[in-house]
């Protein structure tokens, strides 16, 4: 997955998380988000990462990390073990986004999920005008080499949450670094947010 400029998202994610929370970052990469949250929010963090090189980087940073797969290994955690689960830029690369989302809201009280919005106007325009699969900074892979399996739009995500009876509490606008309460589908978000970021939960 492309993680270009992702670090700029850390602050927005941190705003959603209270001090001293327990957090699991699923697809935690080299552990830098967990490290950031440990520094600024004093969280008790855990990571899960499928790529062993990145697991090694986490270990060297002192981050507790499980070499594992979001599709299969979230079942190992008991209900509501964590205060927060985080899934950034990973949902579209899972085999079953639906079950991964169900697992996230099962193992944590609240889940923060971000994904590239396939409904962004540039993507639509690229398809419409060039008749080619879009390649951009956020979606940096060509169609034949992408690890991404399930692209969705912000509206698709909202529909899936509804279907799974997952409550969307907040939405984030990463370009303006703004968080706001969620109040249903929104034309501007679905067209102009390159990334969807949501805080969700299910009792």
């Amino acid at each position: 997955m492309s993680l270009i400029n992702e670090n700029k998202d850390f602050g927005v994610i941190a705003e959603l998380i209270p001090n001293n929370a327990s957090v699991i970052d699923v697809g935690c990469n080299d552990g830098s988000l967990l490290e950031y949250l440990r520094e600024y929010k004093n969280i008790d963090g855990r990571g899960m990462e499928i790529d062993q090189k990145k697991v090694q980087l986490c270990l060297a940073k002192g981050i507790s990390v499980i070499e594992g797969d979001a599709d299969t290994d979230l079942y190992d955690y008991p209900d509501k073990l964590f205060d927060y689960s985080i899934l950034t830029y990973t949902l579209q690369a899972t085999k079953s986004p639906k079950t991964v989302m169900q697992q996230l809201v099962r193992i944590s009280k609240k889940a923060i999920i971000s994904f590239p919005n396939f409904g962004h106007w540039k993507i639509g325009a690229s398809l419409l005008l060039n008749r080619k699969m879009p390649v951009s900074k956020k979606l940096s892979y060509s169609w034949h080499e992408t690890p991404n399996l399930h692209f969705c739009t912000i509206n698709d995500f909202i529909d899936l949450c509804e279907e799974l009876e997952i409550k969307i509490e907040k939405k984030g606008d990463l370009s303006n670094k703004k968080l706001s309460n969620f109040s249903g589908k929104n034309f501007l978000d679905s067209y102009f947010n390159e990334v969807g970021l949501f805080l969700v939960s299910k009792d």
């Binding site: 697991v55 270990l59 990390v65 070499e67 955690y77 008991p78």
Partner: protein, 371 residues
């Protein structure tokens, strides 16, 4: 390099054993490397496997070979003895100087032989705890070991959780599967079927159960390697021959290799110790003191843990190691897990596996920095 040291423990009160009975004034042979710092917070306890011993990083007195983990423990090694104080004791029941079947029973002045009590992994850990007390260490920075060593690590986490800051159990299991027990039983039966075993009383005899012990080692050695490793190393290659010789001599390289492993093993290992230690491994179930509940067994554990498995290990496979991770996860512990890809089978933890070394080093150093 470290000198072998021997200390007598349980001088005032005996060590009570799981099987009933006790050991008093028992000996523990051990080595240490590096220096214990003033805060006494830099100790690493290394637990050896079935046929390992205290010579973790110094030359073995019998085989003259490098210590069994000399690639891992030493100055500037993944477990850096410039920084850490490493302790490696020979388990009780062993045969390199700790009290075991070949040592003298103080009660009658004769070798214990099969009068030695059947001991458990938990007994070994209780004995190790007395050594740690003797060394004046209240909290061990890290307890680590592979295979049976990993069982000892798990038992430490369960029995003395407050004494363990961090732990690295490697290629191990919370108990033995039927297959594990079967392989050990095969080994024990081959020892006991050797007429030279003489019901265990061979210490003063010219005849020792070398054939039986050697076959036991051959069988075990197969279980330490993967099919792929055996195939790529030996295949069907012939040993010093151009064609089959239609005899039962070692025709294939693999036969010759296993025979060599068997023959050299008997020089350094005691057949009765092999019986006792394999028994302890078969009896091991870290949940047994807690009515079979692994959650209960580790309820008081607060340690930071790294579990390691190897892809081609079929003796203590990834699935068994993941079971341990799952328990620690359920308890919300600070647990990490890594599966090293290798074709070297169970033996991988003793071999040159750079990714394995990197993981241990990363975990231990970062944990020490955050102490």
């Amino acid at each position: 390099m470290s000198e072998n040291k021997i200390v007598t423990l349980a001088e005032d009160e005996p060590l009570n054993l799981d099987g009933g009975g006790s050991l008093s004034k028992f000996k523990t042979a051990y080595t240490t490397y590096g220096k214990l710092n003033d805060e006494k917070n830099n100790s690493i306890l290394v637990c050896h496997a079935l046929t390992g011993d205290q010579y973790v990083a110094s030359d073995h007195p019998i085989t003259k070979k490098n210590g069994w983990w000399s690639m891992v423990v030493g100055p500037d090694k993944p477990i850096d003895t410039n920084k850490f104080f490493v302790i490696c004791p020979n388990v009780i029941g062993g045969c390199m100087g700790s009290t075991g079947p070949k040592e003298i029973n103080p009660e009658n002045g004769k070798e214990f032989a099969t009068d030695f009590p059947v001991i458990t992994i938990a007994d070994m850990v209780r004995a190790q705890k007395l050594l740690i007390d003797y060394l004046g260490i209240e909290k061990i920075f890290c307890v680590t070991g592979g295979s049976m060593g990993g069982m000892l690590v798990l038992e430490w986490l369960s029995k003395f959780p407050e004494m363990v800051h961090s732990a690295v159990p490697i290629a191990t299991a919370t108990n033995h599967s039927a297959q594990n027990i079967a392989l050990n039983e095969l080994a024990r039966q081959s020892i006991m079927a050797d007429p030279n075993w003489q019901s265990g009383n061979y210490y003063h005899s010219d005849k020792k159960p070398m054939k039986g012990l050697s076959v036991a080692r051959m069988a075990a050695h197969i279980s330490y390697l993967s099919k792929e490793a055996l195939q790529s190393k030996f295949g069907r290659n012939l040993q010093d021959k151009n064609s089959l010789d239609y005899s039962f001599d070692a025709n294939f390289q693999i036969e010759s290799y296993l025979r060599h492993q068997g023959f050299t093993f008997v020089d350094r290992f005691d057949a009765n110790s092999y019986l006792y230690i394999t028994r302890a491994m078969d009896y091991f179930d870290v949940s047994s003191a807690n009515n079979g509940s692994l959650i209960e067994a580790f309820k008081k554990t607060q340690s930071k843990i790294l579990c390691v498995s190897f892809t081609s290990d079929w003796l203590y496979p990834t699935s068994e190691n993941k079971k341990i991770v799952k328990v620690f996860n359920s308890l919300g512990l600070n647990v990490s897990f890594i599966e090293i890809e290798t074709e070297n089978g169970h033996d991988s933890f003793l071999l040159d596996e750079p990714k394995f070394f990197e993981a241990i080093k990363g975990f231990i150093n970062s944990t020490f920095e955050n102490l």
